[in-house]
């Protein structure tokens, strides 16, 4: 799982990790609430005060165990979770007007310090069960990893060249870089999980061959605006652009427009600014308060110089005779103007990947999401699903919860 050198994301800054002493000092601040709100806010229900108190006592391996027993991808989640709106946001210190406990940084400290999962866990002897996963993102990795710990043979098929899903190809580099994602993937593979990259599978054949099949395919291609001039160089989909930036090299352009109001749009805009674009504007069809992106992410992007253009839509693109992008037509209210630009990134969502589900006879809702029960089981008893393909695009931690819940349910059924 080697990545090429000179990837664009490598030039972007990292969040600083705690030193051991800083972690202990922060851990000491935790009140150790009863029935803590942070646990309730965590989609994987990590016993946060307990792992924090273990850091304080110097029991770092125990701390990592407390995290990983609920969230096998506790390392990447510590870095990519929007903690501001989850655990940290619910810390009782916040209501009190005090600085909340930096739970994400503490979780990173514990999981990063301990590292390889095999240093904590020895997978149980084979239980004779075999499962297959389609897509090697966080949901499948959690599903496969938890089952592998209990002795189940787990294989993951991944059509891309690298595993890890959006953790590897889509997360904003300031949170997690591709090589860090792959490091965590390797920890899970070391539990005995097999991953086959560059592999397209025939889903239907898996159902007969394996005891269970897990669909963790995420979402499909970037949605398009469907306006004149969109096809051609200079106009790209956000997920595509981010993947290039993380795995290879991506040009930030000089004058950039990013279309959309979600976290992906904000990430791209911020990264273009960090990569040296002279002017980056986030063009959003409604107003700031309607944006689905987090306020703290928008603020951070604006601090890097990103401008927000509200209540505006892109109605078309202007290209020169050679087909080179010259400007975008931006309509605000009734007024339309041409805004010069050399890169436009479209971040208005992704299409649903229906094919795999359809081939397995799995029911989809009207949005195109796979329909599952509380245990992430689809209408096909041997087929489970989790992550973005069931929720339309949430956080990594939601995907991990899905994979874990499905694995736990199967283990209970098999017991």
């Amino acid at each position: 799982m080697k990545l090429q050198a000179g990837r664009s994301e490598e030039s972007l800054p990292d969040k600083e990790a705690y030193t051991a002493a800083e972690a202990v000092a922060e851990a000491e601040r935790c009140l150790y609430c009863t029935d803590a709100p942070c646990i309730q806010a965590c989609p994987t229900s990590i016993d946060i005060p307990t792992f924090i108190k273990k850091i304080a006592s110097g029991n770092i391996r125990g701390s990592a165990r407390t995290i990983l027993e609920q969230n096998l991808l506790g390392y990447s989640c510590s870095r990519v979770c929007p903690v501001e709106v989850l655990c940290v946001g619910s810390c009782v210190y916040t209501g009190w007007g005090r600085e909340p406990i930096q739970i994400g940084k503490l979780q990173r400290h514990a999981t990063e310090t301990v590292g390889a999962l095999t240093s904590l866990y020895t997978p149980k002897p084979k239980n004779g069960k075999r499962v297959a996963c389609i897509g090697a993102g966080p949901a499948s990795l959690a599903f496969a990893g938890y089952l592998a710990l209990e002795g189940t043979e787990a294989i993951i098929f991944e059509k891309r060249s690298v595993p890890g899903g959006l953790n590897t190809t889509g997360v904003a580099p300031y949170k997690l870089k591709a090589d860090d994602s792959l490091r965590e993937v390797q920890w899970i593979l070391d539990l005995g999980v097999e991953v086959r990259t560059n592999t397209e599978v025939h889903p239907a054949s898996l159902v007969n061959e394996y005891d269970a099949v897990f669909i963790g395919v995420g979402l499909g291609d970037d949605s398009k605006l469907g306006v004149p001039g969109e096809e051609g160089p200079g106009v790209v989909g956000a997920v595509d652009w981010i993947e290039q930036m993380k795995l290879g090299t991506a040009k930030a352009g000089k004058r950039v427009l990013v279309v959309g109001g979600g976290n992906t749009a904000i990430d791209v805009a911020r990264e273009c600014a960090l990569l040296g674009a002279e002017d980056v504007a986030l063009v959003y069809r409604r107003t700031k308060k309607d944006m689905s992106g987090y306020a703290h992410e928008l603020l951070a992007a604006r601090e890097e110089g990103v401008r927000l253009v509200e209540s505006s839509v892109v109605t078309g693109f202007v290209r020169d005779a050679a087909g080179k992008l010259v400007a975008a037509r931006v309509k605000t209210g009734e007024a339309e103007r041409e805004v010069p630009c050399d890169l436009v990134v479209i971040a208005i969502g992704q299409a649903k990947l229906r094919a795999v589900a359809e081939q397995l006879g799995v029911a989809l809702d009207k949005r195109g999401c796979v329909v599952v029960d509380d245990n992430c089981r689809t209408n096909q008893p041997k087929v489970f699903a989790g992550g973005d393909c069931i929720n339309g695009g949430k956080e990594v931690v939601n995907a991990v919860a899905d994979g874990r819940n499905a694995a736990r349910h199967l283990l209970k059924e098999w017991a």
């Binding site: 009140l31 150790y32 009863t34 209501g95």
Partner: protein, 450 residues
């Protein structure tokens, strides 16, 4: 501004803050800097025949991120030649005639005591403090705490010193004893002009779990040391109070020692009967400069209380320190949780259920009841149900008939003022000693009740 000066058995000091006999009072240069910083007196590092020390000497316990909650040392008395110390003491006294300079002494034979006392008084010290307290090293040689643990020896050596001394003689007591008043009375019987306490507590501060050697390690081994610092203050307060209220000691001034780090600590010792206080660990931690806040803080406090001098504060709390049997059994408190400032951490809930008397609950569910020795029935949530301004539905509620007023919830609550203990009026005053006098000490459910 209140008068901070004191007169301790004839030793005059501009304020009650003295350096304790310890590393901060090891040399003349140090003591003069301390006096410049504002210290009113200093008890010089214990003099005697020079000794040899080991390396290392100190180890500490931290409480969370607070460093040196407790300090342990295995250093002995001064390792400097006596004439060097005396020369410096002479110089200090000459330059700082209004400050209190006290020589701490430790030696063995009567003749040794005679010579040592004479040589110290010849350089002009204001008083003497006999070190009967060190619980490490010197006690193995029959000095320090091995004297302080034997009332007869305390009396005998004190009377030797009184025979030779012209200046006031203070006896520094060890807490490593069964009954501190016995030691205090023995010193008074020998003629002591004052008492200093506590010296350090015999201790092992911790173990290096990789090397299996206690701290502080000396070439792969260690020894028990003397424990001091903020952690020992409650023990020192108790012992100060025990002496202050003892009939036979009452008129003997006390120099309070043990974990004093700020003016508040000092005021507490003085309120329990101390005339002066001595400080070591806090100076070792933060330096002589801490005395500035001590002087200012004590002065502000005395002014705010309308007291004109330290003397007015002295002993004010001694009367309220009583036997358990004289406490009022009819006094009743219940905990009240403020719905505005509660942050919903619910530490009080767990503390009450696991560590106290199971009377704090959460939620709207009615008739919650864990087993309880004093059960009055089922606890029901307040109506209307109270929702906290910050805590929302997480606001806990107290089943007041069950609350024994123990304070634990208030102690664990991180929000100052959120949990208060409210007095429930109407209780009949009665003490255990009252019941004993009236023959009403037998309660149902005793050993012989079947």
């Amino acid at each position: 501004m209140a008068d901070l000066s004191i007169n301790f058995a004839g030793i005059k000091s501009p304020n009650p803050f003295w350096l304790a006999s310890a590393p901060p009072a090891n040399t003349g240069e140090q003591v003069m800097r301390a006096f410049d910083a504002g210290w009113g007196g200093a008890v010089w590092k214990t003099l005697g025949d020079p000794i040899l020390n080991v390396t290392s000497r100190f180890a500490a316990v931290d409480l969370g991120t607070y460093k040196m909650m407790g300090l342990n040392n295995i250093e002995l008395i001064t390792d400097r030649p006596l004439d060097v110390n005396l020369k410096e003491m002479y110089e200090v006294k000459k330059r700082y005639p209004k400050h209190a300079l006290i020589a701490s002494l430790m030696t063995e034979t009567k003749e040794d005591w005679r010579v040592l006392i004479k040589r110290c008084e010849d350089v002009g010290v204001d008083g003497l403090e006999l070190n009967f307290g060190c619980p490490h090293g010197m006690c193995e040689r029959g000095m320090g705490s091995s004297v302080g643990q034997e009332p007869k020896l305390i009396t005998e050596i004190t009377s030797w010193a009184k025979e030779f001394a012209k200046t006031p003689v203070l006896i520094k007591l060890t807490p490593n004893t069964g009954d501190i008043t016995e030691a205090g009375l023995a010193a008074v019987a020998g003629g002591a002009d004052g008492l200093s306490l506590i010296n350090t507590i015999k201790s092992i501060i911790g173990i290096d779990l990789n090397k299996m050697v206690p701290f502080p390690a000396v070439a792969g081994a260690s020894t028990n040391g003397g424990y001091c610092g903020p952690a020992v203050k409650p023990i020192a307060l108790y012992m100060t109070a025990a002496l202050a209220r003892e009939q036979g000691i009452r008129n003997t001034p006390i120099s309070g020692i043990g974990g004093i780090s700020n003016w508040k600590d000092a005021a507490e010792f003085i309120a329990l009967g101390a005339t002066s206080v001595q400080v070591c660990t806090a100076v070792m931690h933060y330096g002589y400069r801490i005395v500035g806040d001590m002087i200012e803080g004590l002065s502000e406090y005395l002014d705010a209380q309308g007291m004109k001098s330290v003397e007015e504060l002295r002993g004010r709390a001694v009367g309220a320190y009583r036997e358990w049997g004289d406490l009022d059994l009819g006094h009743k408190l219940v905990a009240r949780i403020d719905d505005k400032s509660c942050i919903g951490c619910q530490l009080c809930v767990t503390a009450c259920h696991d560590g106290a008397h199971q009377c704090i609950f959460t939620g709207r569910e009615e008739k919650q009841r864990p087993p309880h020795a004093h059960a009055h029935g089922n606890a029901t949530p307040p109506t209307p149900f109270r929702v906290g301004a910050i805590a929302g539905e997480r606001l806990p509620w107290v089943d007041e008939p069950e609350c024994v007023g123990c304070n634990l919830c208030q102690l664990v609550c991180p929000v100052p003022g959120c949990i208060t203990m409210q007095e429930v009026p109407g209780g009949k005053h009665e003490t255990w000693n009252d019941r004993t006098r009236e023959g009403r000490t037998k309660l149902p459910g005793g050993i012989h009740d079947v």
